[in-house]
Symmetry: C3
Subunit: 357 residues, 3 copies
């Protein structure tokens, strides 16, 4: 059994990764060929000819169609239907490839790998700061990890690891024993903590220019299945900042757009949105460098965890107080998987039969 | 279950690949050690000592015997029987390795991997042009492919791929929609087509010196399980050549001698026989270069197909009008496999019980 | 099913391999983290945090404890019990890692991977020559082999391979047909032979300086499961040496301390103890070089055997007169495995129920 929720929007690529060439991407274990059509929109097709299984990305783009490189079967880039079979005039009904719904916004290409009838563009993740002139958006990079996406996502709703994995970048010893709050807010799981009146962490020494003690916050929002927003920042302790006034400090949203590649591989495309140093490209470079260092620390941990998960286990892992966020996340994923596994008429979100308990 | 027909002659090697040294070959998934005995004939033994399983190719040739490199058990190069066990005087009956029947002709070493009692030398593939002074024979090369032999063989009775895989060498757009004829002729499956009054393909521009339009033929003969003969050529259109008069044109037999190595690896030893430029070594070099380019195109396709076949499938592949030859071929292989799988008295080619339907 | 006897002392490392750093070793398929505590003794813990499975060797040593690098759980280096869980004050009973019993002597670190209650330090292999001033001990090296430990151990109670695998180092043709004696002496299986009045082998030409004919002995002691002692030497034939007077010749004990790493990987740590050239470092260098060459010959054979064992078999391997030692060894291992597999009250070494046959 695979552990992928299919009925969801996933990030397929940065917009800059897709052009007129046929390019292969692997998403939820499936191969997808993508290219930009003549009208500029993105075509995303199953990357396997239904005849002799050659990847279509080995073939040739002809206008807005793709011609298979083995026997010339040709498929429409929008519908996936076969438009030509050399050697015969009829086009069999089963001569098609899956065409995946695509939404592109803010330089990000989202793909829907599940039931196309359920693909609702209004459900694509968005936040107002993307379009707000008081905020600056900066695309970071695509981090490839040899680890299951659940390990990667769970790490993003887990403030407790920061002191130990990122002691010189995103955390320090001051936070080791500060309790973590966790709650759900609609589709988001939120874990957060404030570390009050402490030395600034390495990141905010480098960015923000703090010298004295600060109040620092970390809010981890994880939207099921695969979008994480980390709202973190610092403000001088003497300002006595209220929790809801975080815009008064140096505030950064670090977004992690997680794409399950295979059961043991994940891509984490990350970007950040900030309220400080808006027109300062040097600030972006500095932040990128700090993030890269921190995410490399995560990568090493998460890949080592995956290796151990792949080995036989003698006993069940233990769970602790700090695992509240990850546990809620895994439960939500399991519920979604179960819903998709048994999908039938009753699994409709508005069932006719109402259960009273 | 493996998908190898065992009771058949396969090409083990070019004659030039075998000398006095012990050399390992892998054929139908089995390791075989081969060397040339003192009388010049080829010894082919199971490459695994029955004692502690060391490959005999790790041992030492002593005259026409092979001595295991671990404990010195020695095996006769002709019969495979053990002739010496150091430390004891009796030779146990089960101390032997399989000795495979071998036939060598026209510089090609054929091996029989099945029941030795069924090995009939008269069934080794041959054709009169090998020995006819009006024809020149030229050994090409051994192409290694990471693809199942069925994919490789099927590609050789599939004229429809030529326009798309070899657009600049063996085919061009003129043939894309020309129908393919398929029939069986005894043990051969034959697929063919004539492309009349068209521009010569790249191959016959380079070889044959055609400038005006030509009639071009491709006849694909596939002898079960693994020998393919492609009879192809061109003749000036104005000569109005009949189908049976192909010797009047520039005619080439391209032979593909296919050896299944493992379930996912195949060697295609190819050679060509021509009725033109008999004493022209430059012609051979030119042809080799063109073939190498074309076969590299096949290799890339067939290896990509294998990768996809190794992945889980959501739906059944489709079959088309152009697949007639491949379908007959796969059916024949399946019939042979079934015959070998259930081999018993009734599977004899002349059963006593006759079924009336 | 794994084929490891767990209730036994195995060599974990040379003493020199372990210092204050956290180091990972793989033994019987399990990962173990080892380091030297402040009192100089060796800590050996299961190398996997019971929380999110990160190897502890990725974490940090803090005094005599190990802190996990993911969430900071901390474990005692002696007991394996968790001493700290950041974010909570209670320490759950199941928060522990296995702590393995260790014995260190003669520069060798022994580990007990089985039931700790059965770990009896008096059962660690020892021999008086380790501490006898008339003998010199020299640690050799750690040879890594891609082969199951049974193949490696069995090779060490198998004098018959010497003539064929080591014809220029440890054996020569003179011994090919000399019979091998085998008997059991308590926990040891002993195989031996004397080659009388023959040319010295390469080893004793290089070490011992023999020029005329010698009597040469090889005694192979294999202590179940994984300790081999090879007592071999040479003495001038004219001295007419009795079997029990081997100290009169040049005598060497070559010890092989075999550690199963995984089902297909083994480490053979070897050392030698000699009664000749005690204070001659050049002798050690010469012996090391000769051993290295010979053990490389074994490695090539044993890895090739493993490759064949991993392939499907058509028929059962045969066993010969020379296999007496290996057969007794495999039977003993199988008996021990069966005892561990079904371990219950009745498997106690002093059962209340006595079987009369």
């Amino acid at each position: 059994m695979t552990h992928f929720v299919r009925n969801a929007w996933y990030v397929a690529a940065w917009s800059t990764e897709i052009d007129g060439e046929l390019r292969r991407f692997t998403i939820l274990g499936d191969h997808v060929v993508m290219f930009r059509k003549t009208d500029g929109t993105v075509s995303a097709l199953e990357d396997r000819c239904p005849h002799r299984l050659l990847p279509l990305s080995r073939g040739k783009r002809i206008g807005d169609t793709v011609q298979c490189g083995y026997h010339g079967l040709t498929f429409d880039g929008t519908t996936g239907m076969c438009t030509r079979v050399p050697g015969q005039t009829n086009l069999p009904r089963s001569a098609y490839v899956t065409a995946y719904p695509i939404e592109e916004r803010h330089g990000i290409v989202w793909i829907w790998m599940g039931d196309p009838e359920k693909a609702d563009p209004s459900k694509v993740f968005d936040m107002p700061e993307f379009s707000d002139p008081d905020w600056a958006v900066h695309h970071g990079d695509a981090l490839y990890l040899k680890s299951n996406y659940l390990n990667v996502a769970e790490n993003l709703v887990d403030p407790a690891h920061v002191s130990f994995v990122h002691p010189t970048t995103l955390g320090n010893a001051a936070s080791e024993n500060v309790p973590v709050h966790v709650q759900t807010e609609g589709e988001a799981i939120v874990a957060w903590r404030w570390i009050r009146d402490a030395e600034p962490i390495g990141f905010f020494k480098g960015f923000g220019g703090f010298t004295g003690n600060v109040d620092r916050w970390h809010y981890y929002y994880l939207y099921t299945p695969c979008t994480a927003v980390i709202d973190f920042g610092s403000v001088e302790t003497e300002k006595n900042c209220a929790e809801e006034d975080r815009n008064a400090g140096v505030r950064i949203f670090a977004l992690h757009l997680i794409t399950p590649v295979t059961e043991t591989e994940t891509i984490d495309r990350w970007l950040h949105i900030r309220n400080t140093a808006l027109d300062d490209p040097q600030a972006e470079t500095t932040m990128d460098a700090m993030f890269r260092k921190a995410f490399q620390e995560d990568k090493e941990i998460l890949e080592a965890v995956q290796e151990e998960e792949d080995r036989p286990a003698r006993r069940r892992p233990i769970r602790l107080a700090i695992d509240k966020g990850p546990l809620v996340y895994r439960k939500r994923i399991n519920d979604l998987l179960e819903l998709e596994r048994t999908e039938d008429l009753a699994s409709d979100p508005s069932p006719a039969f109402v259960y009273h308990d």
